[in-house]
Symmetry: C2
Subunit: 243 residues, 2 copies
């Protein structure tokens, strides 16, 4: 058992709910389940044990493993899983994260996107490690339902993502989110890094959009901006402006 590293071909699902979701959605990718001596013999524990038995997944009882992997949080069950791929569907709407920097944020964004029915997330390098246990945990299980693909550049993404409308969220975007209208085509909602946003060239990739703020202390944080944007888009009707 080792502290997680990006180079590993496996990662950890920390906590009972995540481990249960892992076993339900990816039993074949589950390598083993660790159980701490403080774990109570409750209903979710019994479901986890039953799924391990059914899928012949090893259960390891060890308190030490938790100290190594998870220094801070109260977590008494964790699943170890092989990094699986679940590529995005190009016939759906996407959220595209360009060079995201914060792994907890990325998890929250996955959770919000899945909540609003956007299950396809493209990540443009340089990028976070989406398999990091922090991202997995912050996603609140959305990690196991979302599809995601990495691209080395936005141009690489565009080669595959054809026939769709691109909306780039930028502080100096040209169109107010309130005035955006959508067509019947799929769309991609593109967001930059937490600290630096999208580079200026993204004005040229499609429609650049801004979220109007009346009193700019500092810009919205990334996951709030994604929440507002995704909520607006999923509630828009094609070919009609909202305003």
């Amino acid at each position: 058992m080792q502290k997680y590293k990006k180079e590993f071909d496996y990662s950890y699902a920390l906590g009972t709910e995540l481990t249960l979701e892992l076993l339900l959605s990816h039993p074949k990718d589950t390598i083993g389940v660790y159980v701490h001596s403080k774990q109570k013999d409750n209903e979710i524990y019994q479901r986890i044990m039953a799924l391990c038995q059914k899928n012949r997944i090893e259960v390891i009882r060890s308190d030490k493993a938790f100290n190594i992997v998870n220094a801070k949080e109260n977590c008494y069950i964790m699943g170890v899983f092989r990094k699986f791929t679940n590529d995005i569907d190009f016939s759906r709407n996407h959220v595209v994260l360009v060079n995201p920097g914060n792994m907890g944020n990325a998890g929250t964004i996955l959770r919000t996107c899945v909540g609003f029915g956007i299950n396809d997330i493209a990540i443009i390098s340089p990028r976070i490690d989406i398999y990091d246990p922090k991202t997995v945990r912050a996603s609140m299980r959305a990690f196991f339902t979302v599809r995601f693909s990495y691209f080395s550049s936005f141009d690489e993404y565009l080669k595959k993502a054809v026939n769709r409308d691109i909306f780039c969220f930028m502080l100096d975007g040209k169109v107010n989110l309130q005035d955006v209208s959508i067509s019947d085509r799929n769309y991609s909602l593109v967001f930059g890094n937490e600290a630096t946003g999208l580079p200026a060239e993204y004005h040229e990739y499609g429609t650049s959009v801004f979220i109007e703020q009346l009193n700019t202390v500092d810009s919205l944080n990334l996951d709030n901006a994604v929440s507002i944007a995704v909520y607006q888009f999923v509630n828009m009707k094609p070919n009609r402006s909202r305003s």
Copy 2:
């Protein structure tokens, strides 16, 4: 110098930007400014020193103080300030947080509200300590512009908050946020605790509202819900439904 405690009558603004905002907005409440030996002699540092001199605020050079107050982050300047009060304005729109639990979240919420022009935040007990350095820091300076008041119960709040429309955000709210309409009166947007939401009796306090999610992995986190709601409300026109 001591690690922050709720009982203190002072708190800390960690970092150059927060300290600058503190000195600009609340010079009379600033007790002193600590400077770490690693702080560079840059423009913002010089502005801070000039403001300290102008307002006769003590500058203390000490590295040890930073170890005590701020274990984790890179922060080389901090301001110590008396806890000031800046009560909410009852002739404005409000965001009301009922029993909020997470101090970082609360800071992010302040930042978002101020960004959208809602500067009045009511907090219903039991409650977080809004002066906690974590909240102050996460607010990204909004802490120093927002007005806030504590109330021992929602009924206490309502005694003062008359002639306004109350919208309570609840997972089982009766009206879809998309279908909400507002009048010419002020409104209060009411949100519950991160983990537990608003108790059922809040259905009776006004209009209970839900944010529709297509695929509920888990509900939105609190600051994303507040962001979406505030963005929708500030973009609504009175007496007209959005839908």
